[in-house]
């Protein structure tokens, strides 16, 4: 027991170094998910039928295939097939980002749908094109409403990022496994890894809660 704690204490800097990798993967994936998720949501609510169908396929695919399968598919399958020279780190971000974009698009779609119809009517009545109205009136409100659901997505992506270890990304999980397989102190090391993830989740959710309060629309009730 004591030996376990000593090993963990000694390995802690190494483990915490994995935080940088994990956080980079998570930030990259969330950003990609956001950049794709917003246009996907707008397309699903306001687009013509073929656009909505295409987005439906994207969402169905990336929500329907397990993360591990997609990681292997992209990294060992597609990269080899198309002769792409991408690192495991990059592929992890791309795959997690694409999956997150599918989930985030549904979050923003819900936010957009919650905005009363009258908002768009009034914007149009002023002479705004639909694109302007969506950008200036609908999205600012919809995104603010989506913050709580988005922080939920963050905690999911953070946890999912640990699966990237299967591609050889040297994140927290990979490092814990590396030390554990050398020292056989599996229990203390995986407990430590779990604790580190918990702390990262807690910090992120707290930060997003502050954001939620900061962008809250005065007097809004749903």
């Amino acid at each position: 027991m004591l030996e376990g704690l000593t090993i963990v204490a000694g390995a802690l800097p190494y483990l915490l170094g994995g935080c940088v990798v994990t956080i980079s993967v998570v930030l990259g994936a969330m950003a990609l998910g956001l950049a794709l998720g917003i246009p996907l949501a707008v397309g699903q609510v306001y687009g013509p039928r073929w656009v909505r169908a295409a987005i439906g396929v994207h969402v169905w695919f990336f929500r329907g295939v397990p993360l591990l399968v997609l990681l292997f598919l992209f990294y060992f399958g597609l990269c080899a097939f198309f002769d792409l020279n991408l690192t495991a780190f990059t592929v992890a971000i791309i795959v997690l980002g694409l999956i997150s974009s599918a989930y985030q698009s549904q979050i923003f779609r819900g936010g957009i749908s919650a905005i009363p119809q009258g908002q768009l009517k009034a914007a149009r009545a002023l002479g705004m094109s639909d694109a302007k109205a969506i950008r200036s009136i609908i999205l600012p409100q919809a995104l603010r409403l989506s913050v709580p659901a988005w922080s939920n997505e963050y905690s999911i992506v953070l946890k999912d990022s640990a699966v990237a270890y299967a591609l050889g990304v040297t994140d927290i999980m990979a490092r814990a496994h590396f030390v554990a397989s050398r020292t056989y102190q599996h229990l203390p090391l995986y407990l430590a890894a779990g604790l580190i993830f918990l702390v990262l989740t807690y910090i992120g959710l707290k930060a997003l809660k502050i954001l939620e309060n900061k962008v809250r629309i005065v007097g809004y009730s749903y």
Partner: protein
Amino acid sequence: MSRTEAEKPILRVEGLTKRYGSKEVLKRASLAIKRGDLKVLIGPSGGGKSTLLQCINFLVIPEEGRVWLEEREIFHHRKKELYQFRQKVGMIFQDFNLFDHLSALDNVRIGLVRVKRLGKAEARARALQELERVGLKDHIHKYPAELSGGQKQRVSIARALAMDPSVMLLDEPTSALDPELISEVLAVIKDLGAHGMTMLMSTHQIAFASEVASEFIFMEDGQIVETGPPLKILSDADCDRTREFCSKITELYNTSF
């Protein structure tokens, strides 16, 4: 302005028809409004007044019908023209439809900045001017959730006026207001009329309307049944259906006009 120019209608609609499935909610409605007119749509709820107003600026696309503003026909599929047209036709909604994430000042400013592309300072100055005009100088930084119904409607009027419209369409502007807040909005509307704004308004405020309107238009079941001067429509209408509706109204007010 020559006499014939002054008489040409600013807004003209012909044969506006709207169907939802098999139900025709607007049946070949036609009317014309001259500069400075205040025409009022009256009639039972569901009679097509709101649909007519929203078809005029194509917020609702009619199945048939034509619209002219200042003698130019508007084709709703020509988007750029449609957006220009809507700038000139201000609309006031029963539910105010203020932009909830913006202060009163920004609500009035956003159209100027995003649509008319005015500079920030110019837009701010104009927005302040309009908000002062409707009596809300002290509330410019408040958000819609912090304003009373009457204040919200006055902001929406300021927002529409800032775009320099040629015509204003008002869709039951006081129907969602508490009784004690109605008069402040009516005062603003009366003031607009006195300054020569051309308006087409649907309302249930018959007493107020008969004071300010140049013409009443009675609508029922999607059709314009009868038009005429307020007093004639209210007390001595030609059509039976008009008489029936107006007699109930005057009963309600316990007065004769």
